[in-house]
Each structure stands twice: as C-alpha cells, then as structure tokens.
Amino acid sequence: MLRFIARRLLETIPVLFIIVTATFFMVRFVPGGPFDSEKATTPEIRANLEAYYGLNLPLHQQYTNYLKAVVLDGDLGRSTKYASRTVNEIIADKLPASLQLGGLSLLIALVLGLSAGVLAAVKRNTKIDYLASSFAMTGICIPTFVLGPILVLVFAIHLGWFSASGWYSWQDRILPSLTLGIVYAAGIARLTRGGMLEVLNLDYIRTARAKGASESRIIFKHALRGGLLPVVSYLGPAIAGILTGSFVIETIFQIPGLGREFVNSAFNRDYTLVLGTVILYAVLIIALNLIVDVVQVWLNPKLKFE
C-alpha cells in the first residue's frame, strides 16, 4: 500500500506542474489586465505598476521566476488587487472560514444524506422511501442561491433566530452550513439509496438473511460497506469543493472564505491569487482522490493496490 501511495504522490508532481503552467498562461491570455480600470491611467503609471509586480519582464521569465519562488520558498507572490497582502497571507486568512463552513456542511451532508439513503433503501417503495427520495430530489433541484435566501427569510428575518449573514458568532455558522450541507446531503442520499439497493439484492445478503442475521447487522455490517462505494467516489471531489468554499454561499452569507477569493481573483485578473488558489485546490483534489482510492480498496475486497 505504501508503494501505491508513494507512486501516486510522485505522479502528482507532473500533474501539478501541468496545472500551474496551463493556468499561468491561460490567465495571461485573457483580455484585460490587473491594472485596467474605468478611469484611464497614464502609460507611465501602468509601467510603474507592472514593474513593481514584475509584469514588465518577458512572459517566460515571469513564469520561471514564479515557479522558482513557489518551489524554493513556497512564496505564492503578492496580490495585485489587495495591495498590502500576499497570496500566502490571503489563503491563510481565508482558508479557516472555508474549512469551518465545509466541515460543518460535510457533517450535515453525511448525517442527513446517509440516514435518508439507507432508510429509503431499506424501506423501499414505502412512504419513508418516497419522503427521503423527495427530500433528495428537492435538495438537488433547489440551487443554493434560492435555498439560502429562503432559509434567511424564514429563520433570520421572520423568526429572528439567526443572523441574516456575517461570520462572527456560532449562530452565524448554522444557516450557511445547512444550505450547503443540504445540497450535498441530497446527492449522498441518492447515491446511498442506489448503492444500498444494489447490494441488498446480492447473494451474500440473502445468505446472511438465511443464516438468521439480524436486519440491523445485515444493513450495517454487511450491506453498508458495499453500498457506500458510490458515495465514497463522490465524496472525493465533493469534499474538496465543500472544504474550499462556495462562491454563492460565501456571497449570500457574507463569509470571509476562499471561494469568493477564487472567483473574484479571476474577475480582477489578480494573476497570483488565481494561481495560488488553483494550486491549493489542485493539491486538495489530488489528496482527496488518493484518500478515496485507498478507502475504496479497503471497502471493496475485489480491488487491490496496484
């Protein structure tokens, strides 16, 4: 297994290199630059700003300078939008909020999604199944930018239980986490139900039943392992997305997370911040996919570390 992990880690080096290179050149070829503004500036001012950020150098030199700084010093550069902040600083500042939001949402998504999925599969074609499936379909169909304001309207404005937005006290965490969590819970519920239904029809479950195993033992000990496989595959990229923030949720609820920085950096042509967040997301996705692969081998005896 260690050899497998080591090999996969080595494979990430060229993957990251390709991602960084592609992103570096792609953002440069998009029309508009970091210093374009509605009010025109003089060529001298623009030249000075470009010189300060090293954007006056030939592109290949900027690229090699950037790679050197990232690899040798872990320095992701200086943001062009937020004049006095470095990209490392912005990520360190914003990632915790995204992790908090993501962690809570994940918890909500797993608790709600797994329970609803298992219940729906076990009570197939009953009212419980229909209820759980309806929940899942509703969650999938309602986008966060609709669900978020509805929750705010009911729980913050009419009932006054929570704040409408902000990220100051623990109450402020509940509505955004619920909004994001419900959306993922819906997906998890659908996948769990599907996975469980497939496994519950297999011979070894029938054998377990014939041997007189209790229903709870059959479900939790025997069926869940196989039934969770599709969920685990889904969770890799989903967790990366959840943990690194959501632009929509962060905007609706005014959360100082990384998701907004990621999207806005592209709009602002903040080259270094775009690259910094892309690198972070890439590392997270690669790491989580690796974890998913390892977990899948653990869950599925048919798979081997190869």
Binding site: V30, P31, G32, G33, D36, S37, K39, A40, T41, T42, E44, I45, R46, N48, L49, A51, Y52, R78, K81, Y82, A83, S84, R85, D93, K94, P96, A97, L99, Q100, G102, G103, L106, L107, L110, L114, P149, V152, A156, I157, G160, S163, A164, S165, G166, Y168, S169, W170, F220, K221, R225, L228, L243, T251, I252, F253, Q254, P256, F267, W298, L299
Partner: protein
C-alpha cells in the same frame, strides 16, 4: 479490513478535528461581533461595498475606500455640517490675485494619532510620495494642477523642490499652480491630497512602493476624527473616536463599523434585520417596496454622475453624426427611467454634464422622431434600410442588459435600425472599450469633484477617458482655455459652448443622470446629501 462503521467513526473524527482546529472563537460570541458595543455607545454600522483594496490614500481608487479613509485621515479642507467646504487641518487660506498661489495656514492643534503635530512638511512629503513614479498611484493626476507635478510623476523631473509645493514654516503650506484651478478647494476634499504619517510609512517600507503593511491596525497613524482599531478582511473595519483629533469635541459617534458587503441583496437583508444602520445600495427589485412601505428609511438623492453610451466614431455607420443624432433622438429616456429604473429620482439626460449649483447646460439634445428618420434617410439609410446592425456592448449586469434591450427595441421600432447586444465580463469590456473595438458601449461617469470641468475634459482629443475616437479642434481649444478665463462667469460660458458642441456632434449618447438610492435608519442624524455622496464623519450622529 476496516468496517464501514469504523470508517464512519474515523470520518467523523476527521471532520471533528477539522472543526476543532478551525472553530476558533466559536464557542462564545466574538468580542467584535457585529452587534457588540459598550452599552450606550454610539457605533454606526454601515454597508460599504466591496472589500477595500487597501487603506493607503496614495494607492487606492475606490469609493468604499474613500469613506473609510475620510474617517482616518483629514486633508487641508473638509466638509462642514451642511456639506460646504470647511477648514480641515488648514484653519484658513489665502489665494493670490492671479489665483495661482494658495497659501494654507495649518492649525496648531492638528495632531497625528500618536500625538505628534501635523505639519506642512507632512503634507509636502505626502504629495511627494503620491507623485513618486514607483508608487504607481492611479490618482496622482489629481495633483497635476501643481507646477511640475506631472513632470515629477512621469519621471521628467527628479527634483521635488521644483514642484509647486513649499513649506516656509511648519504651519504654512504654499501651493503653486500651473494654471488657474477654480475648483482646487473641491479637489482637496479627495483623499489623494490627504497627508500620511511619513515616519510610519517609512518604517514599514512603503515610502516609494505600494503595498506595505503600515495600513494595518496597530500600525496605522492617522490625523482624522477616528482611529483604526480592527480590520477583518471581507468582514468589517472598525474605527473608534480619536482622542488626538483637533475637533474631537465635535465628533458625535464613538465609532463606525464599515461592513464589506458586495451583494446588495445581502446588505438589504442585514439592514432589515437591524444589523446595519445604513445600506449603501438597494436592489432594484426592492425600490418600490421601500418607497411604499419604508418611506422613513428610503432615500434617493441626486448624484453627480451620468449614465451614457459611448459611440465609436471611427467606424461606419457611427462616423456620420446624422446617424448618431438619429439614434440619440430615438431613445425614450423617460420610458427607461419609469419602466426600468423604477422612477427613483433619476432624470433624463439631454446633455452630458449633470445639473449642479454651479452649472446647468443650456444646450440640449432636441428634435422629434420625424427629424431622426429624416437624418437617417439623409445618411443613406431610409427607414434603417441598408444600415448595418449596430452592436451595443455592456459589462455583465442585469440592469445594463435591460436598458440595452429597451434601446435595441426603440431603435428597431422607431427607426428600423437593427441592433445586437453583447455583454462582456468587466475587464474584457474595459479592454474592448479602451481599444475602440466596439460600436456602442455603455458607460457611467461620476465627477471627481463638484465642477463641470470633471465631465467636459474627458472629451479632449486623445484623452485617456475619451475612448470614442472623437476629436474636435474647437472643443480642444475651448477646454484648454477654460482654466485661463478671468472669472467664473466666463469659465461657465466656455462650458456652455462645450456642451453645445457635444449636443451637436454626439460622440456620446447621454441617457440619464444618476441618483444615489440607499436605506438609512431613522436613528442616524446629520446625514447630509452631497453631490458626490461624501460627508465629514464627525458631524454624523446616532439617536439614543
């Protein structure tokens, strides 16, 4: 082999660890919670748009930054309680007879927040800093009225002593102008002219480069009515009353929380739940509700700005002024204001410069639809036949799209002119407009200062903000002569002529004059409305 149950436990542990690592301060209410303040203290909580780029007046360019910086720093002049120009750090000033020299006398009790006196040298060194080429200040041009300032900023002059800034003593500052600048005092209200505490800036390495950490809480030394206490990026900036401010006795508030809220929907919800005393903007969809049901909080006040379309006069068919005029006449501005903008106080624009106390253009775009059709026919496009489709470009925003669609429809039904509409993301749109790669492009302009000059000097040949390809020798001559006129009446007469040329040539189609639409709690007192929506924070009060 790990069982799924154990796996789930491990997973929950992982999430739990993650949360425990990151949930700092979650168990208790944060000390800087939005609603926290000492009992009886007057903390004004305002929505302030996007997260500020920085708080360095020589680096930033935004409106939101302006609001915060005017709380932390004060220039030579400031706003009076009624919105007029009032003494700031300068207690009085004299203007030479030729109006080319302004001598400011600084008050003795003006202090920095570290207790040091504010001197004329602080101003001179601050002006030197914003003009230093390597700072790359986008607003350095605001000081170009000073002798030698432009040359110093563009590197043609390296000796700052040759720039028109002199400090005969610690409390006297003399500014020498290269031409008459009747709006100099209005200009001085802008933060580009504000002083910074040079030793502090120097200590953090920011003297000749943008982006140093002198603007962080704990580092910032200011001379304004408030001091910087906290800056939670993308959340809020907290300032509290400065004990060292020369007019501290007149400061009414104990502090201000500037909330960085980009979404007007989010901001409006915050206002509705009482977490904000002021919402910087209201969503278009809420205007009617507020006007009807919350008249005590709804405000719509004149704003010194124009919403208009630029026309690229270098390309057919818009190189023909008859076509431009026909298109201008076919726009039903009243209908746009009534049906799209919810009639929230905007006024239709038939000339370019908004009406102000100083200036109201007499030249107007006038004519009826019959004239528009006749002009189009004369240009070779009777009933729009044979005229290539005109493309309207706008930056991606629903309200711009709705207006563009309405105008597209007006041109089609009234003139038979086909138009296409195209939205582009902000930076792409800027690039397309600045490189003249468009036909019709949406634009808006808010005055830099309260004077028609800020609107009319845009259209000088080759001017950075012209972006239409339009050039008119007479216009160039007149705009250059405006600042040499012997008196204000003569200067305003020049602007009337400029407006006449614009109304005749129409390189731009004015559509409407802006209104500032916002919500404010009835508890907020002394909130004055000014054409540029600025005010001195020291006058603002909160009722108990």
């Amino acid at each position: 082999m790990i069982s799924p149950l154990r796996l789930s436990c491990l997973f929950v542990c992982f999430v739990g660890t993650l949360l425990s690592v990151t949930l700092t301060g979650c168990g208790k209410k944060s000390p800087s919670s939005a609603s926290d303040s000492a009992p009886g203290s007057k903390i004004l909580r305002i929505g302030n748009g996007a997260e500020p780029k920085d708080l360095d007046p020589h680096v930033v360019t935004g409106v939101g930054e302006h609001k915060i910086i005017t709380a932390l720093l004060e220039g030579l002049v400031t706003y009076s309680e009624t919105g007029d120009i009032a003494p700031g750090v300068a207690e009085r000033w004299e203007i030479s007879e030729d109006a080319l020299t302004y001598t400011f006398h600084l008050r003795a009790d003006a202090k920095w927040s570290n207790g040091e006196p504010v001197t004329s040298r602080d101003f001179a060194r601050s002006f030197q800093r914003i003009l230093t080429p390597t700072i790359g200040s986008e607003y350095s041009y605001k000081l170009f009225h000073l002798v030698g300032a432009e040359e110093f900023n563009t590197g043609k002059l390296t000796d700052f002593s040759q720039v028109g800034v002199a400090t005969p003593d610690d409390r006297t500052l003399r500014l020498t102008l290269k031409h008459r600048t009747p709006f100099l005092l209005e200009s001085l209200l802008h933060y580009a002219w504000f002083p910074v505490h040079i030793p502090t800036v120097e200590k953090f390495g920011g003297l000749d480069r943008p982006g140093s950490t002198w603007t962080r809480p704990g580092n910032f030394v200011g001379n304004g009515p408030f001091v910087l206490v906290d800056w939670k990026s993308h959340q809020k900036i907290t300032v509290t009353r400065a004990a060292t401010y020369w007019d501290a006795a007149n400061v009414k508030l104990d502090g201000i929380d500037f909330f960085a809220i980009e979404s007007s929907d989010t901001e409006e919800r915050e206002f509705r739940t009482g977490r904000l005393d002021y919402a910087y903007s209201l969503p278009l969809s809420k205007i009617e509700t507020y006007r009807r049901d919350h008249a005590d909080t709804y405000r719509a006040t004149p704003y010194y700005g124009t919403y208009f379309y630029r026309l690229n006069v270098t390309k057919k068919p818009l190189d023909d002024k008859r076509v431009r005029r026909a298109l201008a006449l076919a726009i039903d501005r009243e209908s746009i204001i009534k049906n799209i903008l919810r009639d929230a106080g905007q006024t239709p624009a038939y000339h370019f410069t908004p009406v102000s106390q100083k200036f109201a253009a007499t030249a107007r775009l006038s004519g009826d639809l019959a004239e528009a059709k006749r002009l189009l026919a004369e240009a070779g496009y009777p009933d729009g036949k044979g005229m290539p489709a005109v493309d309207i470009l706008f930056n991606t925003l629903d309200s711009h799209r709705t207006i563009a669609e309405a105008i597209q429809q007006m041109w089609k039904t009234r003139l038979g002119v086909n138009a296409t509409i195209q939205n582009q993301e902000w930076k792409v749109y800027l690039d397309t407009t600045q490189t003249l790669n468009y036909q019709v492009s949406r634009a808006g302009w808010i005055g830099d200062y309260d004077d028609p000059h800020t609107f009319l000097d845009m259209w000088i040949t080759g001017g950075g903000n012209n972006q239409t390809g339009w050039s008119n020798a007479e216009y160039d001559r007149l705009i250059r002569s405006a600042l040499t006129q012997p008196d204000e009446a003569a200067r305003m007469a020049v602007y009337q002529k400029l407006e006449t040329i614009l109304a005749d040539e129409l390189p731009v189609l004015p559509i409407y004059f802006y209104t500032r639409i916002y919500a404010i709690s009835p508890k907020v007192k002394n909130w004055i409305s000014t054409p540029l929506d600025n005010r001195a924070w020291k006058w603002v009060d909160l009722a108990d």
